[in-house]
Each structure stands twice: as structure tokens, then as C-alpha cells.
């Protein structure tokens, strides 16, 4: 009896340690690729980063030096347009799906469409923006690129918003309704607010995903070797510039492509960190 008990305790100890080890191992495996990419980018790209990279536009072929200032500004412009389009429409759609349209045929159709849209290859999104904006305007533009990225953001933002709203406990909604708060007010001020950390995470995921997209920009924003901040002109973008430089035969351009990749990742990390910082202020002690 005593013996059996000891044996069982030892087995449990072993099981506990094995499970913990496996969990830690999986965590490392998840983080490893990210860390590896980041370290590799720093090794390859950091020494090409200098003031010129952030202040100059690309030099013509054959001349050494130059930078990606126009592409950095272009990427920021495109992402602002994309977010202005994708975040409100996505969140609005998510609120409809979770709060007002639940169970209706229309909502089911919208949900299904959003899922399909999520799986559509990004180059097809570029085609859609091409047909919608470039063809009628007869020229490539920053606007078309931003719209292509914005459409890509909508399904991700929409579905995460819906999921996060559905996770808000029923009791919280009832509490608001029980106080004589109209339903629309309760949805906006209570349910959405309670779900907002998750909704913000969804927006950041969608943002980070489209920030690195190249394909939808090829025949919308096109790319630009010169300064342009006009929404009506073709505009440079980091992923496009990296793509062009990386497949070029020049060593100098390869170095710039590495530096561009590093800057792109750092920009995404900074944007996500900034949003997290801004939205985490004012959170109360003990709030879940």
C-alpha cells in the first residue's frame, strides 16, 4: 500500500515535469523563428542603416548610396489609408454580426463572405482595387494601394470583433439593460468597451499583416523612385522597394533591401507597441 502510493507520487512528479518541459519547448519553438529572423535582419541590415537611408530617395542605378525615405513615407501613407478604411468598416461589421444580426440569414451570409474574403489571395485584392480605382482613373495611385490593403483588413477586423463581443458575458449586457439603458447605448458603451482589448488586438494583427503585403500593391500603388506624397500619384512602399532591390543584381541594392526589411519590421513593432501603450493607459487596478 505504502509502496504503491510512493510509486504513484513519483509518476505524477514525472508527468508534471514532462508536461512543463513540453510546454516550455513549444513556447521556444513559437518564438524561435521570430527571434531568428530579427537577429538575422539586424546582422545583415543594421550596418547599411545610416542617416541617408532615412532622408534620401533611391539613387539611379550605378550610383552608390541613397535611401528609402520615400518608401517609408509611402508605407505610412498607405497604412493610414488602409486603417481608415478597414478598421471602422471591420469593427462596424463585427458589431452588427455579434449584436444586431445574430441568427439572421443576412448575418450568416456576411460571416461566410468575410471568411472567404480572408482566404482570398492578396494579389486578387490588388486586382479588385485595380478594377475599382485604377481603371476608372486611368492611373496608378496611393489611394488605390491603400484601398487594396484596407479591403484586406476588413475580414480580419470584422471576425475578431465579432468573436471578442461574443465573449463578453451575458450578465454584463443584462446589467446594462436592467438599468434602463437603451440597447444601442449598451452595445456601444458597455459591450464594445468591455471587449475593446481584444478588438484592438484584432486590428493590430490585421495592420501588421497588410503592412508587409507586396502583391496587392504591384498594380495599385505601383511604386515610385521619387518623392511623392500625393494620394493621386503612384507611391513608393517598403515591401515593393525591398522586392525590387532584392531581385536586382547589385550588391549595394541587396544591402539596402536588408536594411529596408529591418526598418519595416521595426516600424510594425513600434506601431503595435504605441497602440498598446496608448490604449493601456487609464486601465484601472483589478480590471480584467
Amino acid at each position: 500500500m505504502q509502496q504503491g502510493f510512493k510509486m504513484q507520487t513519483r509518476l505524477r512528479w514525472l508527468g508534471d515535469k514532462t508536461a512543463t518541459f513540453l510546454a516550455v519547448l513549444s513556447t521556444i519553438l513559437v518564438i524561435l523563428p521570430l527571434v531568428a529572423i530579427f537577429v538575422y535582419l539586424i546582422l545583415k541590415g543594421a550596418h547599411s542603416l545610416n542617416l541617408a537611408f532615412f532622408t534620401q530617395i533611391p539613387k539611379p542605378v550605378g550610383e552608390v548610396g541613397g535611401g528609402m525615405a520615400n518608401a517609408i513615407v509611402g508605407s505610412v501613407t498607405l497604412l493610414v489609408i488602409a486603417s481608415l478604411l478597414g478598421v471602422p468598416i471591420g469593427i462596424g461589421g463585427g458589431i452588427y454580426l455579434a449584436e444586431f444580426g445574430r441568427g439572421t440569414k443576412f448575418a450568416n451570409a456576411v460571416r461566410f463572405t468575410a471568411d472567404v474574403l480572408n482566404g482570398v489571395p492578396s494579389i486578387v485584392m490588388g486586382l479588385a482595387a485595380y478594377a475599382l480605382i485604377v481603371v476608372p482613373q486611368h492611373h496608378f495611385s496611393a489611394l488605390a494601394g491603400g484601398v487594396a490593403l484596407g479591403i484586406m483588413m476588413i475580414p480580419t477586423v470584422c471576425r475578431t470583433t465579432e468573436e471578442m463581443l461574443l465573449m463578453v458575458p451575458h450578465a454584463v449586457r443584462e446589467a446594462a439593460l436592467g438599468l434602463g439603458v437603451p440597447n444601442w447605448r449598451s452595445v456601444l458603451s458597455i459591450t464594445v468597451k468591455t471587449a475593446s482589448p481584444g478588438i484592438i488586438t484584432g486590428c493590430m494583427l490585421a495592420f501588421a499583416r497588410v503592412a508587409g503585403e507586396t502583391a496587392p500593391l504591384i498594380f495599385t500603388a505601383l511604386g515610385n523612385d521619387f518623392w511623392s506624397t500625393s494620394l493621386n500619384e503612384p507611391i513608393a512602399a517598403l515591401p515593393l522597394q525591398i522586392y525590387v532591390y532584392a531581385i536586382s543584381p547589385y550588391d549595394d541594392w541587396h544591402r539596402l533591401a536588408w536594411a529596408g526589411s529591418l526598418v519595416l519590421i521595426v516600424l510594425i513593432v513600434l506601431a503595435v507597441a504605441l497602440v498598446r501603450f496608448v490604449t493601456s493607459r487609464g486601465v484601472l487596478k483589478g480590471a480584467s
Binding site: 443584462e174 446589467a175 446594462a176 436592467g178 447605448r185
Partner: protein, 252 residues
């Protein structure tokens, strides 16, 4: 001041399930009325019909009349309107997790567009004092989240939140069933104090609790109200055999 409630031929359904059948009942103003009965007997559905929360469920349906004073709550008014006059405290404490203690209490007023800050401060203080929570939270009203309080404190916070909109009736659906004995006795003391100003309807599984706080008690069984009388009569000399079986613990 509280108002009496007159319920006539109330029937309620969830889908095809006839959960309340022909309920007739007069709930006196400024008294506590307890509703007892086994799980699933319809007593929770009944209180949810008194502030029209029942109909927030899309498959729910109600017929019959409920009068509060001169008002027929199903004919003369909207659900939003009636819920401002009939506060509700739920079984599990449900403070708004993202709001401070202060904002939780002020929520009902703020969300309805009330913004006089001085008056809000006064109402919040008065409501928290009425719910016997003020002394425990007055130093971190705006610093701490409502969710950071203990379960018993959260429930008193929810009572303060319901009181802040100045209702005439307070519905309590098993308000102490998720709490420990000390918190439970605080809630009971509170009901005792509040019933001079409000009409209180309390659903409870705890028969001692009904006996301690309520003047009137109704016994529900299988969607019908079997007996409604003074609490003393129900617990010492019930008229119906089924009431007697239930309170002596022979079933349920």
C-alpha cells in the same frame, strides 16, 4: 417611494415551454416579498416579467397584465422606461469590468445622458452609503475597478448601481446565493433597511432568508403560484399541502 405591483393572469413562455401559468398576485408597496420554490419553478421568470427583462430573449413571450401604481407596464410604456423605475440585482454579481467603482454606480445615469458632476458625486455617495459599501471603498472610488472588489462587495456595488437611478421597485434574483454567510447577512441587513423606501421582490432558495427579510411569501411550483400569504403563515401554518411538503423539506 415604492409602489405596489398588481399581477393579473400572467403567462410566460420560452419557445414552446409554458414557464408561467396564470399568475395572480398583489405585491404590497414598501415591503419585502419573497418568492420561494424548487429550481425551475418559474420564480426567476416571474421577476424578469416585472421589469420586462424576460422579453430580451428572442424566443420568450408574455401575456397578461402587470400594473405598477397606475401604470400598465406592458401597455403604457417601453421596456427601457420601465427598467429605470424597476431596478434589478442578479444572482451573480455583475459589475461592469472596465469601469471604476464610481463609474459603475453612476453608469445608469451617465449612460442615459445625465452629466451634472456635482449631483452625480452626491448620488454616488448616497447610493454607496445606502448599500453599506461607502466606508469600504470611499478612498479608491475612481482608482479601482468594480471587478477588483470581493464577491460580497461586488453584490453591494450592484445594489448601489441599481439604487442610483432612483427606482421604485427593487427586484433581487437570488442576490446572496453566490456569497458567503457574512456577506449574505450584510445583504439581508440591507434589504431590511431598504424596504422602507422601496418595494422589494426577492427570489431565494434559502427559506430562512425568506423568513428573516420578507413580510409576504409566495410559493411557486411547476410554473404556478401555489400559495401567497404572510411569511409567518406560510412557514408556520400553510394552507396548501404542497407548500407544507416543500418547507418541511419533503421535496425540492
Amino acid at each position: 417611494m415604492g409602489v405596489g405591483i398588481e399581477v393579473t393572469n400572467l403567462n410566460a413562455w420560452y419557445g414552446a415551454n409554458h414557464t408561467l401559468q396564470d399568475i395572480n398576485l398583489n405585491i404590497p408597496a414598501n415591503h419585502a416579498t419573497a418568492l420561494i420554490g424548487p429550481s425551475g419553478c418559474g420564480k426567476s421568470t416571474f421577476v424578469r416579467c416585472l421589469n420586462r427583462m424576460h422579453e430580451t430573449n428572442p424566443i420568450a413571450r408574455v401575456t397578461g397584465t402587470v400594473r405598477m401604481g397606475d401604470l400598465d407596464i406592458y401597455q403604457d410604456t417601453t421596456p427601457v422606461e420601465i427598467r429605470r423605475r424597476v431596478g434589478m440585482v442578479f444572482q451573480r454579481p455583475n459589475p461592469f469590468p472596465t469601469m471604476s467603482i464610481y463609474d459603475n454606480v453612476a453608469a445608469g445615469l451617465k449612460l442615459n445622458g445625465y452629466s451634472n458632476r456635482r449631483a452625480l458625486d452626491e448620488i454616488v455617495e448616497k447610493s454607496l452609503k445606502n448599500s453599506a459599501l461607502w466606508d469600504e471603498v470611499k478612498d479608491d472610488l475612481k482608482k479601482k475597478s468594480g471587478a477588483s472588489l470581493s464577491g460580497g462587495q461586488q453584490q453591494r456595488l450592484c445594489i448601489a448601481r441599481a439604487l442610483a437611478v432612483d427606482p421604485e421597485v427593487l427586484l433581487m434574483d437570488e442576490p446572496a446565493s453566490a456569497l458567503d454567510p457574512v456577506s449574505t447577512s450584510k445583504i439581508e441587513d440591507l434589504i431590511f433597511q431598504l424596504k422602507s423606501q422601496y418595494t422589494i421582490v426577492i427570489v431565494t432558495h434559502n427559506m430562512q432568508q425568506a423568513a428573516r427579510v420578507a413580510e409576504k411569501t409566495g410559493f411557486f411550483l411547476n410554473g404556478r403560484m401555489v400559495e401567497f400569504d404572510s411569511t409567518h403563515k406560510i412557514f408556520t401554518n400553510p394552507s396548501d399541502k404542497r407548500t407544507e411538503d416543500y418547507i418541511t423539506g419533503r421535496f425540492g
